[in-house]
Symmetry: D2
Subunit: 293 residues, 4 copies
């Protein structure tokens, strides 16, 4: 097995760094994203947040409760010039469109930048938590592998680094340090149509990790469970690209995006804004990323 | 009491409208926000999401649980080349920095655009829910009432419409339809220093409602519990500005923002991005708004 | 359709009563239960409380979180002569072995004793809640319909009032006012073996309601989803025996019991203890009933 | 510091035992409890389960949500001959009247019977969990230290082993192996009257541990936060009696009982029934113990 120790970005942004490749997003990256705005339409990229899924197998569906509602007043509660509704959600942070904290994953007991997994206990993550992440405002580069003639147009397969390079070249864009890579696999749409389940999804082959890092991407996102193809064929590693790209290179993952409207737009670059909730000690956050075209 | 029926925006954006004054945010507003970007620095405007507050009295604090963590592996769970952490939050949607859905408030049994409060039951809001809201990308205009010599520099008082007009004029900006009004009261900072509690907070006097609507604002936000001063002095109405401005004019409210960094920036206009989570049937969403300066 | 107004116990224990047929459990009933104790062995009658079910379709599975555990200490937390674990459950009150409050069910807007269903709002039940119920200590009478040659030995069918009477006679017991009727349908065991699902279960035919009330039972319980056979064949009533027996006669229902050990015991009478949690405003409670043989 | 290794019951009920001193409750103990029944009145011993406390400082208050209620029907939902209410609780298992699992406490990394605290991870307790506990039906012996002239009649102090012995002698009862010791400190009542807080409570001095074990008690319970006096004066041990009595001797603790009605009864012996919910992997359970007088 290849020695990954030399192929990583640990220390690149300082021994104490907790934000990984998000450090690539400087004001130049933000302005490059802004410069990509043409018409000015904003597209939300999240799936509806409900108990209907999809959701990875080991998690419970979100739940939503009303602590005050219109029925209360109908049943006799008096307004005092003012009536209101209030609610509560119970949500696995990875249970809908979400972004992973760098504390989400480790290997050999070490996460991004060599921090020990012992930094994550029942009291939350004290290093590399979602609270450290900060806002993401940069250029997004969109590659659609589920479009006509795409490798995932009809089925859930792995996308090779060659296919990745080819799709990238077709955009005629030049990726720069701090960009975000957004990938459509078609899995979400197949799931909605009953043609796919949470047990198998199209996604990037783990061999894509080096390419993504070398192109300078800060973040990679997809319309599937794990960005990388799944389930992993490796008995010795259930999520090899999470290890190679997130844990080793510090590139951040976003999952379960809805990219259907983006696919229809025929655009490949845009302003991408993602704002994780600063959950103290959290290892992920639900998000509703915005693509401004 | 003034007849509010004539002073409202019901029907202005269609009988079926559920988004209220957010309809003012068109591509021109988005581009105006983008044009306000100078250096390109992104500021997150949310408070840390934890059980430590602040939170309005009738709500329970957020809770955070780990369903998998590093301690599990330390205690004997085997990695398969990959170890991970996972978590769950229990969160009142208004229990941290948040945006209200238009279904949050009503009076005389009617919410924004005349929808009946019966549209909100234990199964959630079927009209004017947070799911209908969509992304917000526009120009923000920031007024600081807690700065040196500001009316709220040291105490929690109501901000009058005259003080609002004066602070606005000082920015030398021209508000346009679709802008967002962001107001610093200083309450959050006083709360952090133990000088204020959730039982009294500086905020806008309800008389500011007309001014805010006439200036064309789509949204109003503050670093306090309710944007408007509280608690309400009116026995007959616990939240008069929520009724006058949100329910009647459809202007959206955001609360519990952290505006300290914005105050230090000395900027008054910037690109504001807010992305509510599309909670199906929800009446609010936690958010982490971004100000790009 | 028969006029149920005259066939009910409303007012029987007072206009203000909220406990229904549980009023039949007087000290004589308690002592009769105690007198039934022979060897003194205690059997718990609850299924394991976990996320693995079974659970009725519209409810979410229970969840269990650790807020402190041994892994924390393994990962570095220091004991101070003392280490501890702590946990939290999220539980639909009817999501495991449970007892229904009389506020759980109504028809034509009225629940037990004519109370309006408007007594139950997002703030809980103000009448007939589980908090009003109190402890249950009485004699249990056990009828096994899933034993050899029983009508439900192999399949999920409705148990008729004739079959009920026959099984009762075979016990040679005399039911008295305040006794509890415990019925084994075999559905739980079939569910465990993958031979049954939550979409169809053996249970009592709703025609059994009068017989149960006339025999003076305070409570009826079963090892299935709803005591009565389900799903209901009546388009006009999803739970006819809940209406006829709980709502009209005030007899309390317990569901999802594990009666396998009781079946093996070959006993038909015993001391039954059930202790609902006094959830303020609750409409049900998880319970672990005890049969002392 | 005394060597506790020799003063413990580890191995007494087998190397694999997970139930500790509850093993003392045999059919003789159950029958002795039954024999204590006189009039046959049943008293529930739980406090109301709500968000109003009391609760130990590090825990969140219980929460209660309605997922269906009468207001829904009032607001337009149609009955189909049948309307219902349903609810969910979020509950720290120790957040109301509760029983501790033996997995709740350890010292030097070992819990009851020498099991490693590593048996408790985010997935719950795999040894000594509440699921292993089983039903408790035995004789209760009640000692009231908050009655007239009692050491805790007016204040929150520690109850010495001499005071314990004296109160015991006054009952003229002979404790036998398997009995349950129930102690009233008066703290709950003072808390209700605003005269006490969760920061200080009357309770047993840890020196009582040996006496309790020697008398053969299986369980000890009180109307306070921790049975033992608190907070602990020992810098080196936050809960010395939990360690000496639960962890070393395997005696089970129940906390936050309401013993006011029992105090008024003037009874000292009765049938005690406690039925923990079999929460898989749980380290405690809410309970509503019953005293049958």
């Amino acid at each position: 097995m290849v020695d990954k120790v030399s192929r990583n970005n640990w220390g690149k942004w300082g021994e104490d760094d907790q934000r990984g490749a998000l450090n690539r997003i400087d004001v130049a990256a933000t302005k490059r994203g802004i410069a990509a705005v043409k018409a000015g339409h904003s597209l939300p990229l999240a799936i509806p947040l409900s108990s209907k899924g999809p959701i990875a197998g080991m998690r419970a569906n979100p739940q939503h409760f009303m602590t005050r509602d219109g029925g209360d007043y109908c049943a006799g509660l008096k307004e005092k010039g003012f009536g209101y509704a209030d609610d509560v959600v119970i949500l696995p942070t990875h249970g809908t469109t979400h972004i992973d904290a760098l504390a989400h994953v480790w290997s050999d007991g070490k996460m991004w930048n060599g921090y020990s997994c012992n930094q994550v206990t029942s009291r939350g993550a004290s290093k590399c938590s979602i609270e450290s992440m900060g806002p993401i405002v940069t250029r997004g580069i969109f590659l659609d592998f589920a479009g006509p003639d795409g490798p995932c147009e009809f089925e859930d397969v792995a996308i090779s680094v060659e296919q990745l390079q080819l799709a990238y070249e077709r955009t005629e864009l030049q990726a720069e340090s701090g960009d975000a890579l957004i990938v459509r696999t078609g899995w979400l749409q197949r799931w909605r149509n009953g043609q796919a389940k949470e047990t198998l999804w199209a996604g990037l082959d783990p061999d894509c990790a080096d390419w993504i890092n070398e192109k300078g991407f800060a973040l990679v996102a997809a319309d599937n469970i794990a960005v990388e193809f799944g389930p992993s064929p490796l008995a010795c590693n259930a999520a090899p690209m999470h290890v190679a790209l997130m844990r080793n290179f510090g590139v951040v993952f976003m999952e379960l995006l809805d990219l259907e409207a983006l696919a229809i737009s025929a655009r490949h670059d845009f302003l991408l804004m993602v704002s994780p909730l600063p959950i103290v000690g959290g290892v992920g956050s639900p998000v509703n990323p915005i693509a401004v075209l």
